[in-house]
Symmetry: C2
Subunit: 410 residues, 2 copies
């Protein structure tokens, strides 16, 4: 008998009928002898409906009040699921964040979980009652409701699995696992049986939006096996696990991720002297804008070009910040481009196979795709290219790196 | 400078635009130097939307979960109003029941308020911040969310006014006061400047659904002046007050209330012996069915007829309970009628004017309206008549009792 924490997302909870389907799934698993604790998101569309209301009454809604309001989405869905479970004869009880002391810091709209009081939850599991916990929310030390930000329910589930020392944290979603790349771009993309936390982190942060990145970090840190499954289709999904457990399928490369939402900003002709990166990126960081890739080349004539990428939504604001700084530094100019895409090849096998980068560049060259920026890590190679080449790049790399067939099929 | 608790109902909060209008009203009152604490209901339609969802996932939704879910309606509207106030530069802060410890008993769906922790609220008022409190909800000793039942936000407002020792509790609604009778039945109905708590209780319990009856009881018990006003139309509304304060307008009769939702059950030919009423009504009470009027006549031949009224929705269940009892008692038979209406004439002036009952019967007789049942109290005369005579009875009584023009217009 295992203890599983199951998380059902907004699409899985999208209608009373689907909630009934989730209740059926839980009832079946419980009947097989497992203990289940459940974390759910708001019904799909609900959070957006509430946000729209907020923006109708205020141009810049107060963040405390926004959290107070948006947390109701999960409160409704936990109650509905608990009712549906009871309707099927399964003892169940719903909890909002404050009722099981999901304590967070005070960062409105993007709070971090500090602790969970598992006393009631463990007692419920032990007694055969299914606790249904609101994802995405918590409560700060003053009793204010906080939310974890979009996708925060995944993090709630992992935090709960950690606190309850669960055997597995199962994230039910509308896809049936993690794929070698986005099947909408490459139809031959293949579901991975396992992937490591590290690989998943690189995939998630690069735009494969299956799981919230913080939940993967969290699970990796506490060694909680994380499984991504479909709410609508039976199957084993993808198990996200530690590197040493990923033996069966020892491909060098696990997948190809891409991100269409980046913008590339360049400051040209900056005098090549110490402190330039800090001078340019300091004010960007201070404005809470996240910088992704950063490239600075060696200079030839005492000046250099400094390039970095940010989310497209931050592009305009970033330019407003960078332009006066560039002037002050005596740079030649600044420019931004948004018709770019970042493509990343990810795999822990790279550690022992040094030839991958060369192969990636060779494939792109063969297809006549110009590389605008390169950045690498131990288990990842990212390139920025013109966005019109996205499909061509992904498909060529998917084929050339042998992702169509598993190295050691399970 | 006064401290007012203002309550805005679901219609007043029915859309972002209307919420903005409420925020304008509060901002104006506050600018005039008054301290305001606000209680709000869910946006109109929201509670019904949630109930419908619940009934889609369960035939008999669990009551704890129902409370957990339905309380979100008010949570959304307090946050929206606080945002709208801040948008207008008015400091505001929303609170759900648990955040200001609105402690209730554990009666799911119809809980009673035991206490409110006013520390934060009083500090807010003192600092010029408008606290916006969720009506209709509280929290029990185990941290479960409870609700007070339909219209419970009025009670929340009065409880808050009592706890804060407010100067007045103002209930904003979609009508501009309490009328001598329903203007849809008698267009000459007139708004009352004042009415006593006692009269209001009789009017409310008899179907004038302006205020929740428990809120009037509560306000009367703690001597909190209660004012009913319109959210949409400026005006003084109706002040509900103690009898000694109602001097200016000393009409004998304050109004005519009616209730279309009663059913009349009769047990005919019951042997006239002690314990009959208890034998018949005991099981009805045990089934949590509320009995309104009860009439038993003297017997002529050793047997009597026993008649009582219940809500129409309880009629079928009541008959199922009464039939076997009647058989056991050796009664002749049982029957129920639902095409009836109860009309009540209410006024504290009756205490000093004993001729009112005779006048009521005379008016009805003149119009050829047969009285099926009579029941009186110190300040009220109720009759049950066939429902087709409702308009005729109300209009004739309204005229004959001089309700069209105030006795002492203010």
């Amino acid at each position: 008998m295992a203890l599983w924490v199951q998380k059902y997302g907004g699409t899985s909870m999208g209608s009373p009928e689907r909630i009934g389907h989730v209740a059926d799934k839980i009832a079946t698993t419980r009947a097989a002898g497992h203990q289940i604790a459940v974390v759910v998101s708001a019904m799909s569309g609900e959070t957006n409906r509430l946000l729209a209301l907020a923006h109708e009454v205020s141009h810049r809604p107060d963040l405390r009040e926004l959290d107070q309001m948006i947390a109701t989405g999960e409160q409704v869905s936990i109650a509905l699921l608990a009712m549906a479970l009871k309707e099927r004869g399964v003892p169940a009880r719903s909890y909002i964040g404050s009722q099981v002391a999901v304590r967070t810091d005070q960062a409105r709209g993007r709070a971090r979980i500090l602790s969970i009081d598992t006393e009631r939850l463990a007692a419920d599991c032990h007694a055969g009652t299914v606790p249904v916990v609101a994802g995405f929310q918590g409560v700060d030390e003053d009793g204010n409701i906080t939310t974890l930000g979009r996708g925060g329910s995944d993090t709630s589930a992992v935090a709960l699995a950690t606190a309850l020392k669960a055997d597995e944290c199962q994230i039910y979603t509308d896809v049936d696992g993690v794929y070698t790349t986005d099947p909408r771009v490459e139809p031959r993309a293949r579901r991975l049986a396992t992937v490591t936390f590290e690989e998943m982190l690189e995939m998630a942060s690069l735009g494969s939006k299956v799981l919230q990145i913080r939940s993967v970090e969290f699970a990796g840190k506490y060694h909680i096996p994380l499984r991504v499954l479909s709410s609508f289709k039976d199957g084993p999904g993808t198990l996200i696990t530690l590197e040493e457990h990923k033996m069966m399928e020892d491909a060098v490369i696990s997948g190809i991720a891409f991100d269409r939402n980046e913008a590339q900003l360049t400051v040209t002709g900056v005098p090549d002297k110490p402190g330039i990166a800090a001078a340019i990126l300091g004010p960007i960081g201070a404005a809470n804008i996240e910088v992704d890739m950063i490239v600075q080349n060696v200079s030839s004539d005492g000046s250099t070009d400094f390039t970095f990428t940010v989310a497209q939504t931050d592009c305009e604001r970033s330019m407003e910040i960078v332009e006066p700084v560039a002037k002050r530094l005596g740079a030649k100019g600044t420019h931004a481009v948004t018709d770019i895409v970042k493509v990343s090849v990810v795999g822990v096998g790279m550690r022992s196979h040094p030839g991958i980068a060369a192969k990636v560049f060779e494939v792109l060259a063969r297809e006549g795709i110009n590389i605008r920026m390169i950045s690498t890590s131990e288990i990842k190679i990212s390139v920025v290219i013109e966005d019109k080449y996205l499909e061509l790049a992904v498909r060529s790399l998917h084929k050339a790196l042998g992702l169509e067939t598993p190295a050691n099929p399970r």
